[in-house]
């Protein structure tokens, strides 16, 4: 079953490409007809990569890889250089299975429980709204749990999303123990035979140990009712985030069994390049990308399109 029909990456590419134009044009000019890779081309490549937030070391690594690959090749045309570097980047993403389309396997697990975590303001609640809508559209029944009992109006926000998506919600008073909300949501899903459970959690910075411990507790409480749960834990990353995202992934994976990433806000000009480091270090697949604030602005991740967008001149 295809979850997201009519995948349309134009919106992503539109956003991702605006600032590239100049650089890549320059790249094209410099490269054509040259037999060797001159320093300035390597520097342009370095700039394209670093400004995508890929990280300095990773950029150098990728460029070195490309240099080695091209050494044994006579074709040093612009197309070939770009093709080679893109292939290296796509390979990183594919190693972490980022090309796989994800859909809750309810034959195997029911309810299929997804926990959503991330730092403040990354886009967790919005992503849940969009996912709920998409899951529902593909024929699954969905319930969401408002386990952010801390932030002002987090509850109300998720409630509106649940309404928009037409799914059920479990919520409690502000200040309630978030794990009890999670517990009840799962209980209700089991009782009412609901396919998919999504738990929204409060934003938390990964260096706050008490808040991170709270996540751990939520997981434990969910597991009381359902073995192997949560089946998926998605870390939501703001696509604007720089190198700090690497630390986020590291720290969140210490308290939660992360199974995938969602990169949001890729409808701007940020490239989200930091995911390359996360994919390769932690072998986490990117599951979805957020490309807007509307309910339909969620897409499955596609490695080639993502990489293309980093270099796209369109």
């Amino acid at each position: 079953m295809k979850l997201f029909k009519n995948l349309n990456f134009d919106k992503l590419r539109d956003g991702l490409s605006k600032t590239r134009e100049k650089i890549v044009n320059k790249l094209t000019e410099t490269i054509s007809g040259k037999a060797k890779l001159p320093a300035e081309i390597l520097e342009e490549l370095e700039e394209i990569l670093v400004t995508s937030d890929i990280g300095f070391d990773t950029a150098i690594q990728i460029i070195d890889e490309v240099k080695i690959k091209l050494k044994s090749e006579s074709d040093r045309s612009e197309e070939n250089i770009l093709r080679t570097i893109k292939a290296s980047l796509v390979a990183v993403l594919e190693k972490s299975n980022s090309y796989n389309e994800f859909l809750p396997d309810i034959e195997k697990y029911k309810p299929f429980i997804i926990l959503i975590v991330g730092v403040n303001g990354a886009g967790k609640t919005t992503t849940i709204g969009k996912l709920a809508y998409n899951f529902k559209k593909s024929g699954l029944s969905v319930i969401v749990g408002a386990a952010d009992t801390f932030r002002a109006a987090a509850n109300e926000q998720l409630e509106i999303w649940a309404k928009r998506a037409g799914v059920e919600i479990v919520q409690k008073k502000n200040g309630t123990d978030p794990s009890s909300v999670a517990f009840e949501t799962v209980a209700k899903a089991i009782k009412e035979n609901i396919d998919v459970v999504m738990i929204d959690t409060a934003g938390r910075l990964h260096n706050k140990s008490n808040l991170m411990e709270e996540l751990n507790k939520i997981t434990r409480v969910i597991q009381k009712q359902s073995n192997n749960a949560p089946q998926e834990t998605f870390l939501v990353l703001d696509g604007n985030t720089g190198q700090n995202a690497v630390l986020q992934a590291e720290e969140f994976s210490k308290v939660a069994n992360l199974t995938g990433l969602v990169i949001t806000k890729l409808d701007g000009t940020a490239k989200g390049g930091v995911v390359f480091q996360i994919c390769s270090k932690q072998c986490l697949p990117v599951r979805y990308i957020g490309v807007g604030e509307d309910i339909e602005d969620l897409q499955s991740f596609e490695a080639n399109a993502f990489v293309d967008a980093i270099f796209s001149t369109k």
């Binding site: 370095e46 300095f56 926000q157 509106i160 260096n207 190198q243």
Partner: protein, 443 residues
């Protein structure tokens, strides 16, 4: 314990003697490293490059005094320049003495605008202003509820309309403020992408309609390379007056602040560092500079020390350091102080310049106990003027402290070296840090 440390110092000293001036060649390595540090801290690629180029150009040919390397000197210069650039035209909020002051809060989605609006309202009401929060985010689900709840928790009125028209809400709020005797209107707007023409038009209109004294651009301190683009677009559209750096309670290095400052040249006015509504601070450029460079944090060293030092003690010590009158008596005091403050290694790590030289020095904390014992076995006179410590006295001290004569000799020798080092250091870093600190208070 001092052994390793002084060995390291000596080695460094030897290596650098004769490197009289900063040249392109003798700082290449350091600059490469600094560039990497800046990029790792999310400073924009171009900004990092230009910044380093400019600073180097300025620093070339500078005399290097013999106690530091050209690399260390240029690091110091970069730190200072960075501090200066980040601070620059630091300025307070422009608040009208009479009439209504309008503050417009803008930025990307999820950066922390709504939370900051409430924090600012609280802060201003603490200084006897009468703020009104305005809920002009008509898009995000429950955005208005969020602001209302925050306002309620701090007893600040919130203005909203049951109408999907942000321009009108903003405009009408001014009348509401006047009619209700409120003097500071804080308009919380929806998060928007800088490439969203329609919404950028909306915020520009709101600015035009409300004529704010301050437009503040709220930016997440975790932002990466693209900060230059969003900041520039926002600045082009609404010509903001200041920057608010949020989520500084995280562990991001905050390099985006340098990018933004470089691109738009506007001052950073506030730091937001927590979800609670009192977690807001004025901006201290030197703190951010050391955070970006990931260097030891002078300021926090000084502050940490401050909690235990009373001012007079600090002054006395500083004076002694400067006049090279630091004696065993002071040393003992220092050891006690250090014990109170935490581990020595952590303290050393906080002193820029010194940290690189001593990073790898193995500091044996237990050795302190022996050192303390030795000093305790000295007479007052001996502590004050170690010169009098002849062979007999040293023997007596060894016996009294349950250590060996060799240990006593070693300590005295190392102490003499340390005195030298400290006086040099005092003329540079520590003294500055101490002096600067007098202008700093937690707020």
């Amino acid at each position: 314990m001092l052994e390793d440390l002084s060995q390291k110092l000596e080695a460094t000293l030897k290596k650098i003697r004769g490197q009289g001036k900063i040249t392109e060649k003798n700082v290449t390595e350091t600059l490469r490293e600094i560039r990497r540090v800046l990029l790792d801290a999310d400073v924009n690629y171009k900004v990092a490059k230009e910044f380093i180029e400019k600073v180097t150009e300025k620093a070339l040919g500078q005399e290097v005094i013999s106690s530091i390397t050209p690399g260390q000197l240029i690091t110091r210069i970069i730190f200072d320049e960075l501090t200066e650039l980040l601070g620059g035209s630091h300025s307070e909020l422009k608040i009208n003495a009479s009439g209504v002051t309008v503050i417009l809060i803008v930025g990307l989605q999820g950066s922390g605008k709504t939370t900051f609006s409430a924090k600012l309202a609280k802060r201003l009401s603490n200084s006897n202003r009468k703020p009104l929060l305005v809920a002009a985010d008509i898009y995000r689900p429950a955005a208005i509820d969020q602001l209302k709840m925050l306002g309620k928790s701090i007893n600040i009125p919130v203005f909203s309309l049951d109408e999907k028209n942000a321009r009108k809400i903003a405009e009408n709020s001014l009348n509401f403020a006047r009619e209700n005797g409120l003097d500071t209107v804080i308009i919380d707007t929806a998060g928007r992408l800088h490439v969203d023409e329609e919404l950028m038009g909306e915020v520009a209109d709101i600015k035009q309609l409300t004529n704010p004294q301050e437009v503040l651009f709220v930016v997440d301190s975790m932002t990466g390379q693209d900060a230059v683009n969003s900041a520039k677009s926002f600045n082009d559209k609404v010509d903001f007056d200041g920057i608010v750096l949020t989520k500084m309670d995280g562990d991001s290095r905050g390099g985006c602040a340098l990018s933004i400052r470089s691109v738009v040249g506007k001052p950073i006015k506030f730091i937001s560092n927590g979800e609670k509504l009192d977690a807001v601070e004025s901006f201290h450029p030197d703190r951010l500079a050391s955070r970006i460079l990931g260097k030891g944090d002078v300021i926090s060293l000084v502050e940490k020390a401050q909690a235990h030092f009373d001012d007079i003690e600090a002054d006395k010590l500083e004076e002694k350091l400067r006049k090279n009158k630091f004696d065993f008596e002071d040393f003992l005091k220092q050891i006690k102080l250090i014990k109170k403050m935490g581990s020595l290694s952590s303290l050393i790590g906080m002193i820029p310049g010194i940290s690189s030289a001593m990073k790898n020095a193995n500091v044996d904390e237990k050795a302190f106990v022996r050192i303390e014992a030795i000093i305790n076995s000295m007479t007052k006179e001996e502590r004050r003027s170690p010169k009098v410590l002849n062979g007999n006295r040293r023997k007596r001290i060894a016996r009294g402290s349950g250590t060996s004569i060799q240990e006593v000799n070693k300590l005295i020798k190392q102490f003499a070296e340390m005195q030298k080092m400290m006086s040099k250091f005092a003329q540079k870093g520590f003294q500055n840090a101490m002096m600067n600190n007098k202008n700093f208070k937690f707020n």
